[in-house]
Structures are given as C-alpha cells and as structure tokens.
Symmetry: C2
Subunit: 204 residues, 2 copies
C-alpha cells in the first residue's frame, strides 16, 4: 500500500523569486476559473496556461498533471489517481477490505481528515463546486475502479462503491454519528469491506 | 407502506388571525434558536414555548410533537419518526429492500427531492447546522431502527445503514454521478437492499 503523502506544490527549495511566485499564483487562479467554468473534464492544461499568460510547459513544470493541479487547487486529501492502481493491482480476494482500510487509515491522519471534511463540506454545500468534485471522482476514482473490474455494469458498480465510501466518510467524520465515530477501523472494515467487495465483484 | 405526505404546519383553514400568525412565527423563530443552541436532544417544547412567550400547549396545538416541529422548521423531506414503524413492522426478510425502495420512491417526487437536496447541502455545508441534523437522525432514524433489530451492536448496525443511505442520496441526487443518476429504482434496490439487509440482520 503506498504511503500517503500530502500533496504540495512542486516548488524549488528556498524563497521563490518574485516572478516565479507570481506565475504560480496566476496559474492557480487560472485553474480555479477554468475548472469552475468548464468542469474537470472540460478544463485543459493549455487553456489554464493561456488564462495565466504562461506556456503550458510551465504549468506542467510547477504542478504536474491535470489531476495534480486540481488536487492542489482544491486541497484534496486523497489522490485516487495515484493510489488506486496499487490497490486494484492486488488479488481480487479482499479488494473491498483493502479499499476501505486504505481510506479509513488515511483519514486517521488529522491533517488529511481536516482537509477531507473541508472538501466534503464545501463541495456538497456549494452548488457551484459540486459538479467539479463529481467530475474528478467520476474520472479519477469511478473510472479507474471500473476499468479495473471490467464487467458490463462496471461504472454502475464503481459508483455504488463511491456512494458507500462517501456516505461512510460523511457519517463518521462530518455528521459524527456516535457509533460510527467511536468504531475502530477494524470494526468498520469488517462490515463495509464486504459491501464494497459485493458491489465490485458480486457476492463476497 | 404508508403513503408519503409532505409535512405542512397544522394551520386551520383560511387566513390566520393576526395574533395567531404572529404566535406561529414567534414559535418557529424560537424553535430555530432552541434547536441551534441546545441540539435536537437538548431542545424541549417547554423551552421553545418560553422563548416564544406562549404556553407550551399552544406549541403542541400548532405544531404537534418535537419531531413535527423540527421537521417543519428545517423543511424535512422525510419523516422517519412517522414512516419507520410500518417499514420495520413487516417480515424481517426483505427489510433492506423495503427501506431502500421506500426512500428512493419518495425521492422520485420532485418536491421531496428538492427539499432533500437543500437539507443535505445546507446541513453538511454549514458546521453550525450539521449537529442538528445528526441529532435528529440519531434519535429518530438510527434509534428507531436499532430498537427494531435488538442485537448488541444494533446502534452501530443502524448507523452503517444511515451511512449507505446518506451516501446513496448524495451520490444520486447531489453529486449526480451519471451511472447512479440514470439507474432505475429497481436496479439500485437490487444492489443496495442486500447491503442494508446485511448491516441490519447479518448475511442477506
């Protein structure tokens, strides 16, 4: 299981020169505009570079991929685009347990939990930002899981997984329902792991 | 299955007299204050009456029970306190399917869906109102389901049900993940019903 690393902008060490810092800020502002207007799928690195008045190579240099830039822009707590391949790559047996354990273990980290709660609150609470999170989840989480399971209704199944994971994170960390907030990771994996497994590959 | 009725304040027919309307508005304002300060469990009908400067009998006369008053104050789309007894009363076999079908069928009604989305968005988006919704769910939904299944970890199991239902409603109606938004009620019941059944009573 890959160790989780809080994403940080790819800055060189030391204080950035005034021009660099200015370009990075313009790129972030341009990314927020581009994602907000065109959605996650519609936004392009070229479009963001054009809005920021820089070359698109500079956007890649500072921020990496589109998923990287999006994650840095919204302060994403987790990176399914980076983490899912290793989870999906293991044996099909126990896949549901691995996914649930990986997510809950990451959210035990207070910094990740805090970012995650802010992201859930803001993206569900604000109708302008909801489609943006939905687009990212659709492309980088549901799309990747669906590609990994390869059944005819794979996207429906992966979306059911997303619904249970989102509901679990909201119930435990946002609503803080007492029995879920107090439960151990093991107790939750024991119950929710088989749900995810059944959604993904049929009966557990 | 009880037919769903959108809750409306218990007003008498015709235009209320000026004094009546004024008292009802004062009670609603007092309820918002009391629920906001003391939470769902801490709030009392007596306390709300005292804030509104009326007799508590008048609060009951206009608004019914505390759950009624809360539901009317927040514009609740569903009333687990009223609807769950009939759902739990049927055979244990198929209980998960019945609960999921009942909720999704209710949310197919555009008026209920609209209220529900507003309530989810506002209660998750605003940290002041989150505990209020959580308290209501804990008492009127999770508590009632837990009392109906009577196993040692009944509250944990009922909370897992709440997590899947909340996640499903958010994924289908707020995030509008395409495969879930497009799925039929039957297709979702077929997958999520067994999840709820397993959480409630063990293997489906």
């Amino acid at each position: 299981m890959p160790e989780y690393a809080v994403p940080t902008p790819k800055r060189r060490r030391g204080r950035p020169k005034a021009g660099e810092s200015d370009a990075q800020e313009r790129i972030v502002a341009a990314a927020i505009d581009e994602f907000g207007e065109l959605g996650y799928d519609g936004a392009t690195m070229r479009g963001i570079a054009a809005r920021a008045g820089v070359d698109s190579a500079l956007v890649h240099h500072y921020f990496g991929t589109k998923a990287d830039l999006f994650a840095q822009t919204v302060g994403a707590p987790m990176r399914p685009d980076l983490d899912l391949p290793a989870l999906l790559d293991g044996p099909q047996d126990g896949l549901g347990d691995r996914i649930v354990r990986y997510i809950l273990t990451a959210w035990e980290n207070p910094e990740i939990r805090k970012r995650g709660v802010v992201l859930l609150r803001s993206s569900i609470g604000n109708r302008l930002t909801t489609p943006l999170l939905a687009g990212f989840l659709q492309r980088e989480l549901i799309g990747r899981i669906a590609a990994g399971i390869e059944t005819p209704d794979a996207t429906f199944r992966a979306s059911l997984v997303a619904s249970q994971i989102a509901g679990l994170l909201i119930a435990r960390y946002v609503l803080q329902l007492p029995a879920l907030a107090a439960a151990s990771v093991d107790d939750i994996v024991e119950q929710v792991g088989p749900t995810v497994q059944r959604y993904l590959v049929g009966e557990p």
